[in-house]
Symmetry: C2
Subunit: 192 residues, 2 copies
């Protein structure tokens, strides 16, 4: 494998492993084995596991941005578009049997206090995600689907808070109950 | 230190360390050092670090149950009582400068997929917490403070989802923004 191939294999393996086991739940050795590269090559590409973590968050952001594309489909009314996006996220979590959860949320819980560079990358990711959601909420307000006076960016923030908590609780309960409560109750009440 | 003193010192140190660093972010050695006991004594009291984690969750549940006592003060109207409880939780997180977050949420993110016994203890803790909140919501409904037809246990669940997500996002942002959005917007809209 050439240098860029090794790096790519490490980042791809890292997104999966950090999602499944957490930052401290897997070592550089595990990541190298999963990537099928020699352990020694890790430090040819990343100065530290922390720097690697930043790359993993960045890759996750890119992949998640692709999933956000559905939010731009203006052939669907804004609120329905937003609800479909979350339904598709729920489908993924159900398919995973409530494992893994949100890589952003997991790394936030585990690393926010221990790595400024990872935390800052998480903050940028959350902010971009919130803006994308807020943009659709603006459209829903303009279309008269939401009558609330609350600013769209605040509604986006509280919707994402509700979502992250629901994901966490679905993992504790190993059930879709919290996810359905998000879709049926939180979504409706927060965006009334 | 006698046997029960050692065990108690380990559990107390564990609640602090697991909250600050996560389950995989600290080792048995760190816990023993923080407790001021020899590392070897750990395994005299706990068959495994996982079994110790269950005890830490149980201790956290007991301590948190004490904080829930304020919810029983019927001299205060139900919704105000509930809002005060969350304001006091916010005050603690601000005092901690948005570090640590929720031990329940952190262990859920890190351990739900990797330890059935820890996950089951987290589920029991979440369930008891949700029932305590649901009980006050029932009272708020009976008092006419909430007009929603949604069942009290569902409202309690979505409120706690919103809360856990807000705690997580306050840690990413190292700011009270998400916590204030919970108090000012999520709380009001979910319990309308």
């Amino acid at each position: 494998m050439r240098g860029s191939g090794v790096r790519e294999a490490l980042v791809r393996a890292g997104v999966l492993l950090l999602h499944e086991r957490g930052f401290n739940g897997c070592g550089v050795q595990d990541i190298a084995v999963a990537a099928g590269v020699p352990k020694g090559s890790f430090y040819n590409h990343f100065p530290s596991k922390e720097a690697f973590g930043v790359e993993v968050v960045e890759r996750y952001r890119q992949e998640h941005t692709a999933r956000l594309a559905v939010l731009a489909d203006i052939s669907i009314p804004p609120l329905e578009r937003l609800h479909r996006y979350f339904r598709s996220q729920v489908d993924t979590l159900v398919e995973w049997e409530y494992r893994r959860g949100s890589l952003l949320g997991n790394l936030a819980a585990e690393m926010s206090d221990h790595s400024t560079v990872i935390r800052e990358r998480l903050a940028a990711t959350l902010s971009a995600w919130s803006r994308a959601i807020g943009h659709v909420i603006e459209q829903a307000k303009a279309a008269g689907e939401i009558s609330s006076d609350t600013a769209a960016d605040t509604l986006a923030a509280v919707l994402l808070n509700a979502w992250e908590g629901a994901v966490l609780h679905s993992r504790i309960e190993k059930s879709r109950r919290a996810l359905d409560a998000f879709l049926d109750t939180s979504f409706t009440k927060l965006l009334a």
